[in-house]
């Protein structure tokens, strides 16, 4: 295979020249002459009967072109697709309630679209929303998870007759028997809430139906342009080849920009076809809090059975999951919770049961981590409490329970979100824990620094937790590699980018096979006209699945290059080497450039032999049977201000294992961003709903993303346990950093407060810590 000068190196990003100079094109940067602008009228009520919508005044407003309600959609109105059907788990209950394009008889969450105005300018469209008269009869609102299941609770989807979205039990071994054998059983209730993705770029769509050549072009802030293209074609009665979906540069994704078939995503193209003009809708920030999916609360009742040495005998977890008003994404989030809870530990007996519940709130779908946070929190907290009860050091109890390298592949005997068995491919957890403990100075902190600080009246605490995450799931991705006569390489794939550096990492993989510079590999992605097959960028799968497809395609092209070169240079393929954009006969000056070979492979005279193909081009697909398992350990030291209970992070350490690193600079960046998101989740961000399902803090002034002053400097190190499931040995990393931070905060803050409180919830805040401390003082 030759040397790999590029994979593994922190090469400069190919996309940066465009991004750093303001030339990169994002959806809202596409300006087409004659574009109309859409604005959505959204429900102010969380639950209600929609009695009437009067759009007549809006239609009369100067500059308004059209106003549509559900009634105007005719056959186009229908429930959207179930995006991810649940895995085939025995005994599973799943009740489907998918999105509708515009509310018809009922509104089921604040922000649900009721009507859309199309006007000559965004301002006119916004103003015309004020002209629409909506009559909604409010219905009792379902907010709490336990309340949703109460016998007298209002039912959100009458046809279902229940607020249960799903009920799932998965088990391994016999938990009750294990419990009987246990030395100690630790039982607790936990609540873990999450929040918005918070991409700085809001969602947006520009659709342009060209009636003359009957082509629809849709610029869409989607993480999955190909599925969106396929779905739009089907819904609009067009061939897939008539629809082009472009997800150019995206200003962050983090989950909610997946193949959601949001109402706006379905309506804007439809409107463009009707009006035969380009139509644009750009979400505003307030809308994003209601209309873009997010992730929220789970309530767990869990217990951990251990022997006297702290070895895990079994875990039982029963939890409620907030689905929000619809469940288009199936049970992906709670099943991730269920599967991630097991962590890097040997858990011989496991009973996990969850009920997903409809509520009158924004729809829940994966957000960076996608339910993994909740599971990690429960397991790590249970281990902390068990350690305390048994008098075992918290690092030690984890070490005693880690799976060891000889136990891989490790089958957990339950099904993962991709319907494949939850089997860990590889891992080596002990060195990561030891490295993290060493980096944070675990012993020194506990033995010297913390006692000294306490003597001075300072409240310092340390946290150290570990986790695994399933990444790199199927079904498949593809890539097409072509060497052009210029000698440059074009690489097309369906996996769009929202900042992960695909223009660089995919190019690195191909550059290594073809012996060219990374900058000579031009990556095209996120445009269905350029590559037609695949799914999208989510579930930490880009580098694993699409990266492997790039690798496979490049190997085929490499073979073809050698074959053509062998003929051209009259030398055996084994005697040839590829480097610096040329094929050379080893140990001689005889060489030919890739550009010349590309010309030779596409002759103007003569014939291409039967069975052969012209050009130096190949398309390959990669579909892993199951996902790869990445892992990590995070550690931090915090200080709590005794006056205000504000928390400052003094040190933050990450030891991470995502297999082989393609680009360490990019990998570190992914981890840094994930940690920042996790810090937000743990301590700053909270969606505050009142009892009427109204979100009270729908702005960045009250929903607090961490700023540059809130995120500490991070020390990141790597352990590389290659995955056996793909040729590159890589594992996913996009979500990693965000996953264990809640568990980490809880442990560190508890430590800083010297055990005065027990933390069983996320998010925290100075105010929440204040309440916990007050409650604890009142109790004692």
């Amino acid at each position: 295979m030759g040397a790999h000068p590029h994979v593994g190196a922190g090469v400069l990003r190919n996309e940066d020249p465009q991004l750093l100079t303001g030339r990169a094109i994002f959806v809202d940067d596409v300006h087409l002459a004659g574009t109309l602008h859409a604005a959505f009228l959204r429900s102010d009520f969380a639950h209600g009967r929609l009695l009437s919508v009067d759009t007549s005044a809006a239609k009369r407003r100067e500059g308004v072109i059209a106003v549509y309600t559900a009634e105007d959609l005719g056959d186009y109105w229908c429930h959207g697709p179930l995006l991810v059907p649940p895995p085939p788990i025995a005994g599973l209950t799943f009740n489907t309630a998918t999105l509708v394009p515009l509310a018809r008889d009922r509104v089921v969450h604040v922000g649900e679209p009721i009507a859309v105005v199309v006007a000559e300018s965004r301002y006119i469209a916004e103003d015309a929303l004020e002209d629409i008269v909506v009559d909604i009869e409010p219905l009792p609102v379902v907010v709490g998870l336990e309340e949703a299941l109460a016998p007298d609770s209002p039912v959100i989807h009458e046809a279902l007759g229940t607020n249960v979205a799903a009920h799932v039990v998965q088990q391994k071994g016999d938990y009750e028997a294990a419990r009987g054998d246990a030395h100690t059983v630790v039982s607790r209730k936990f609540s873990y809430d999450r929040g918005v993705a918070g991409a700085i770029e809001n969602r947006g769509i520009l659709a342009d139906w060209n009636a003359r050549n009957e082509e629809l072009t849709v610029w869409d802030t989607t993480q999955a342009p190909i599925p969106i293209r396929n779905g739009l074609a089907e819904r609009l009665g067009l061939l897939q080849s008539q629809v082009r979906v472009v997800a150019p540069f995206l200003g962050g994704g983090f989950g909610p920009k997946m193949m959601m078939f949001y109402p706006e995503e379905l309506l804007i193209p439809w409107i463009s076809m009707r009006l035969e003009r380009p139509v644009k809708w750009i979400e505003d920030r307030a809308e994003s809090f209601f209309a873009t999916t997010n992730e929220r609360l789970q309530l767990h009742e869990a217990e951990l059975a251990v022997d006297s040495e702290g070895r895990i005998l079994g875990v039982k977890d029963v939890f409620l999951h907030d689905s929000g008003a619809y469940d288009p994404y199936g049970i992906t989030v709670p099943i991730n919770t269920q599967c991630t809870l097991l962590g890097p530990y040997r858990v011989p007996n496991y009973y996990s049961e969850f009920t997903a519940v409809f509520t009158n709130k924004t729809i829940v779908t994966p957000v960076r981590g996608a339910g993994r946070q909740h599971g990690v929190f429960v397991m790590e907290r249970l281990l902390d409490f068990a350690a305390k009860e048994l008098g075992i050091d918290r690092v030690e109890i984890r070490k005693r329970n880690f799976l060891t390298p000889d136990e891989f592949p490790h089958d957990h005997e339950i099904l993962f979100q991709d319907s494949a068995p939850l089997v860990y491919d590889s891992g080596d957890y002990l060195p990561a824990m030891e490295k993290a403990a060493e980096m944070i100075g675990y012993r020194k902190f506990l033995d010297e620094e913390q006692p000294k600080a306490r003597a001075e009246g300072r409240r310092l605490g340390l946290g150290i937790v570990s986790y695994v995450e399933g990444t790199g799931i199927g079904p498949y991705e593809g890539a097409r590699v072509s060497v052009e006569p210029s000698g440059k390489v074009q690489l097309a794939t369906g996996v769009g980018t929202q900042g992960q550096g695909h223009f660089t990492t995919f190019a690195q993989i191909v550059a290594d096979q073809l012996g060219v510079d990374v900058t000579d590999v031009h990556v095209v992605t996120g445009d269905t006209r350029e590559f037609s097959w695949g799914t999208g960028t989510f579930a930490s799968r880009g580098i694993v699945v699409a990266g492997s497809a790039c690798h496979e395609a490049a190997i085929v092209v490499r073979k073809r290059i050698l074959s053509v070169a062998s003929e051209a240079l009259e030398a055996a393929e084994d005697d040839l080497e590829l480097a610096d954009g040329v094929v050379r006969v080893k140990g001689s000056d005889l060489s030919i450039s890739l550009g010349e070979l590309a010309v030779r492979a596409n002759p103007l005279r003569g014939a291409v032999a039967a069975g052969a193909e012209p050009g130096l081009e190949a398309t390959s697909y990669f579909g892993p049977a199951r996902g790869t398992t990445a892992s990590g350990v995070h550690a931090m030291i915090v200080e709590i201000d005794p006056e205000t209970l504000e928390v400052s992070i003094q040190r933050y350490v990450v030891v991470h294992d995502c297999g082989r690193l393609v680009n360490p600079v990019i990998v570190d960046g992914q981890i840094h961003g994930g940690v920042a998101h996790g810090i937000g989740n743990a301590f700053f961000e909270e969606l505050v709903y009142d009892d009427q399902g109204q979100l009270l803090n729908a702005s960045f002034m009250d929903y607090l993303l961490p700023t540059a002053t809130d995120v500490p400097h991070m020390e990141v190190a790597h352990v590389e346990t290659p995955s056996p499931l793909n040729p590159l040995g890589v594992k996913g990393v996009g979500e990693a950093g965000a996953i264990p931070v809640g568990a980490l905060y809880a442990q560190a803050l508890e430590d800083a407060l010297q055990g005065a409180v027990e933390i069983r919830e996320i998010p925290l805040s100075p105010g929440r810590l204040f309440d916990l401390v007050q409650d604890a003082e009142a109790d004692s």
Partner: protein, 275 residues
């Protein structure tokens, strides 16, 4: 919308006298969520940004005067202010972000009337006087008397905040503490400005009442050296002076008790009556 853009103060006064106009200086409060803000876009505005001679800092023998267009940034980066009125720089540096500091004005912070205004407590703790200008001439109001209730103030429609005057005094103690929900760019949960000059204390608190306000009960405790043995000894006075509420940013209990702790620990080494 209409935007009137006067060049001089006199011109601005004339325009204000002629019709109802919303004055705009930095626009940092006004233009928030602009496209969706239907009503705001229908109004007529008096854009003061072009008015000459309104952005200044004048050092007189008796007072420092800030112009009606003087921004936070103007003050933050001024070494003389940092030396003589350090709380202005402290508080100015904690208002929003540096982008807001570059455009936001002290006068605008006063006129917007937010109970969480970060610039107002320190001005009030320095006994600032608000100079209101109009065609009828100047009117001066002590900032501590300026607010009448939530978003209500002694500012009539034809008047502009032309200047803010701060008496120059010797202070032997001055401090501003802001407790926000994150380290920067946060709306204040608790803010307190403290000054002591010639044995007299000023305690000004924001975010804990319908207006930024001075705290006479706390000031009296400090002026009279009443013994304080712990944060809880301050709670009665805090409750007398202030009326915090539970909102999404914080709770009344957190605000009261945290303010007590902040005051106690910050003043412990300063006031001999604090045990």
């Amino acid at each position: 919308m209409r935007v009137l853009m006067p060049d001089t103060l006199e011109e601005a006064y004339g325009m204000l006298a002629a019709e109802p106009l919303t004055p705009v200086a930095g626009g940092t409060d006004l233009l928030a969520h602009w496209p969706g803000n239907h009503d705001a876009r229908k109004r007529a505005y008096l854009d003061l940004s072009g008015v000459s001679g309104l952005r200044f800092m004048h050092w007189g023998d008796e007072a420092l005067t800030l112009g009606g267009l003087t921004t936070y940034s103007d003050v933050i980066w001024d070494s003389r202010v940092v030396e003589e009125f350090p709380l202005l720089a402290d508080a100015g540096g904690q208002v929003g972000s540096i982008q807001i500091q570059a455009r936001g004005t002290w006068a605008g912070n006063i006129a917007n009337g937010s109970p969480a205004a970060d610039g107002v407590p320190v001005l009030m703790a320095y006994d600032a006087v608000v100079v209101l200008g109009s065609e009828e001439g100047d009117q001066e109001v002590l900032l501590a008397d300026f607010y009448l209730g939530y978003k209500k103030m002694r500012l009539r429609a034809h008047q502009l905040i032309r200047a803010i005057r701060l008496p120059r005094r010797e202070y032997d103690f001055q401090r501003f503490v802001k407790v926000g929900a994150r380290n920067a760019q946060a709306i204040t949960k608790i803010g307190v400005a403290l000054t002591r000059s010639e044995e007299r204390w000023r305690v000004v608190v924001n975010s804990m009442a319908p207006t930024v306000r001075r705290c006479p009960a706390l000031e009296a405790m400090l002026d009279e050296d009443r013994p304080v043995s712990g944060p809880e000894d301050l709670l009665t006075a805090i409750r007398e002076d202030l009326a915090p509420i539970d909102d999404i940013r914080s709770t009344a209990a957190y605000r009261e008790k945290t303010l007590a702790r902040v005051l106690y620990f910050d003043l412990k080494g300063v006031c001999p009556s604090f045990a």
